[in-house]
Amino acid sequence: MDFNDTPEQAAYRDEVRAWLSANAEPRKDRPSVSRRLDAEEGLLLAKRWQAKKADAGYACRHWPVAHGGQGRPMIETIIYDQEEANFDVPTGFFSIGLGMCGPVMAQYATQEQQARFIPPLMRGEEVWCQLFSEPAAGSDVAGLRTRCHRDGDDWVVNGQKVWTSGAHYSDWGILVARHDSSLPKHKGLTFFFIDMKSPGIDIKPIKQINGGSNFNEVFFTNVRVPDSQRLGAIGEGWQVAITTLMNERLAVGDAPPPDFREVMKLAAACELDGRSALEDSSVREKIADWYVEAMGMKHTKARTMTALSQGKVPGPENSIGKVVSASKLQNVSSFGADLMDMGGVITDPSLMPSDALFQQSFLYSPGLRIAGGTDEILRNIIAERVLGLPGEIRVDRDVPYNDIPTGN
């Protein structure tokens, strides 16, 4: 066991560090650049940064050369991401495009389409979004209702998508729609990529419980999509969607703060019964729990990285990541507010420790337990795919979609 890079990896890390130092500012103890700016300004900066990265050969390094990457081992992408996390650079706008849309285009689009779409996607010149979830199809995404029907060389799409990150600034999107409601639900779906500026697309931001708007509702009214933008065969939409979800970028970054470090700092500064709250045994026990979870995740990622570093397929242990980190964030946030006692309700950053980070994440964290697979769905996945327990008994699998009860 050792935690050192191989000489080759160390050399690559040095190179990355040198390049980052020459081109970006180190991260400071303040909100990141993406948080300080409004979305439009942030996007502009992010596009510039992504292009710079791509020019230097650090974007999508592990992608095959044929798809615009460098064909390098995944570990180099991870090393880059680890190092980049120490710098204050605008990121996040392209994660859906790079993590899901790029790989699905690489697998299903024609050579000409790949040549047209992948380079600008990789350079951040065009932003992509993902249109899967619907008001009546969240965890049960195969139950989606957005319809499409063939009309000449086009398809015509009608319906509504929801929880689409970045739809308002995206140029392109990937979409699953139902072409035949008389087939069982998984069999009547077809997959497309679409121009987000097409006539008939109406985008409305969703206001979240924390007041922010990171997601949108997207309405489709007679939106025409050329058949040439179909990915996979008619009726193969579910398989294509599953491939896309499998391609979700390996989560190797740390969960957003606050974590045990921030609570520890806060507790050291808070007074409880006339002494530092950090001396209180109930506070110490809680922080110890979160430390153990945080280190458990960190070292689990180290196990995953070890496998990747040796060119092996990582084990299933990485599947625990989001279940643990989302709940931890919610609990840490709530506890941080508790430490401030009655004053813990204040959300004005100018009045609060850590610029009201605990209060902000208290309102933001419920979303993390739902986005990208709810806690419940993730536990099903662990139980079925990792532990080998029998699948759900499904009452809707082999019946025509039209006949499935829908409730409210």
């Binding site: 520890m264 180290a302 070890t306 536990r379 990792v386 080998g388 759900e392």
Partner: protein
């Protein structure tokens, strides 16, 4: 980055697992549990000694085989999985480590060869009854080469040959080596939550003993021994937790209710997923602890405490939810569920409760912060 055991270490783990599967299926801990006259599985202990497992991390010059602590860690995990009813943790993680850390050259030469083959069984005595032992409330005292006082529960105290005793000496605390067969020592078995591992109440009245380590430095030495032992205990707990998960999965697949396997119900799926999550968090912390132990890293106190806390939580959760998954049958004496449930609590309280280790963890973080 190579955060994994080597192929040779993995092979040792598999070999140990195969050996224990044959030599220590659950009928063995059950036999010891049920038979008051058999305090430990003597036959199994002899085989473990013949495999030289107790001496894995003991240097060759003291009669061990001189592998490292990563090798000892993989063996510990398998002993935990097998609920092995042997004094391995007392003799290897505690007594051997105490002698290695605190012993004079002469003491090492004299004691380690026997410990390394399992012919000598050592143990470690801190607790004096219900309640947390502290330097301030210790009653046992060491003066002019003699020990007086009572220790209980002493793990394997009824079968061990010698014991490292934590005792007051003057204003400080010292460790003393006590020959349990000597005069002035009386011992009797005490009943505990896990009769598959015997425990004793030991009384010494002016019993002759020799100092281990410097006078007055006993508490600090005990802490160092416990930091090292914590990783090894955690590995045993991890093995036990994984055994519970596997047992629960097996049952959930085969037991039918309402016309379907109970493992197809989300109430059971989510329970087992939660066991898996806790086990994986514990595994990652244990591996890091193993690394810190094997390299004697400055991170050891915090890494050991994190491994200990995570593995204690994991084994406790897995053993109780394994019973729950089994339903009524899991509460019967005939089911093996209680072997793990008992062992999980025994290991959770050996070398100090979860609360104590959480406090050590935060203290370690505070020291790191201050440094």
């Amino acid at each position: 980055m190579n955060f994994d055991f080597s192929d040779a270490q993995k092979a040792l783990k598999q070999q140990t697992r195969d050996f224990l599967r044959a030599a220590c299926d659950t009928t063995v801990p059950r036999r010891v549990l049920e038979d008051a006259d058999e305090p430990f599985a003597r036959d199994l202990w002899q085989q473990i000694g013949a495999n030289e497992s107790p001496g894995i991390a003991v240097p060759e010059e003291y009669g061990g085989i001189g592998f490292g602590y990563l090798e000892l860690c993989v063996v510990a995990e398998e002993l935990g999985r097998a609920v092995a009813p042997v004094p391995f943790s007392s003799s290897v993680y505690l007594a051997t480590e105490a002698v290695l850390l605190g012993g004079s050259e002469e003491q090492k030469q004299r004691l380690l060869p026997g410990l390394a083959t399992g012919e000598t069984i050592g143990t470690f005595a801190l607790s004096e009854g219900p309640g947390l032992a502290t330097p301030a409330n210790l009653q046992a005292s060491f003066r002019d080469g003699t020990l007086s006082g009572t220790k209980m529960p002493v793990p394997d105290g009824d079968i061990a040959d010698f014991c490292v005793v934590v005792a007051k000496e003057g204003d400080g605390v010292s460790l003393a080596l006590l020959d349990l067969g000597g005069s002035g020592v009386s011992r009797e078995a005490v009943e505990t939550l896990d009769p598959s591992r015997s425990h004793a109440r030991i009384t010494f009245d002016g019993a002759e003993a020799e100092p281990l380590g410097e006078a007055g430095q006993g508490w600090a030495l005990k802490d160092r021994v416990f930091d090292r032992a914590a990783v090894l205990f955690a590995m045993e707990q991890l093995g036990g937790a994984d055994a519970c998960l596997q047992m629960a999965i097996g049952y959930a697949k085969g037991r039918y209710a309402f016309g379907r396997p109970i493992g197809s119900f989300q109430a059971i799926k989510h329970k087992l997923a939660d066991i898996y999550i806790k086990n994986e968090l514990a595994r990652a912390n244990c591996y890091y602890g193993a690394w810190a132990l094997s390299t004697d890293a400055p991170e050891l106190p915090v890494a050991a405490a994190a491994a200990r806390v995570a593995a204690t939580q994991a084994f406790h959760f897995a053993s109780k939810e394994n019973i729950q998954t089994h339903g009524g049958i899991g509460f019967t004496w005939e089911s093996d569920c209680h072997l793990y449930y008992r062992r999980s609590k025994l290991l959770a309280l050996s070398i100090g409760s979860e609360r104590v280790w959480k406090d050590r963890l935060i203290s370690g973080l505070e020291r790191q912060e201050a440094a």
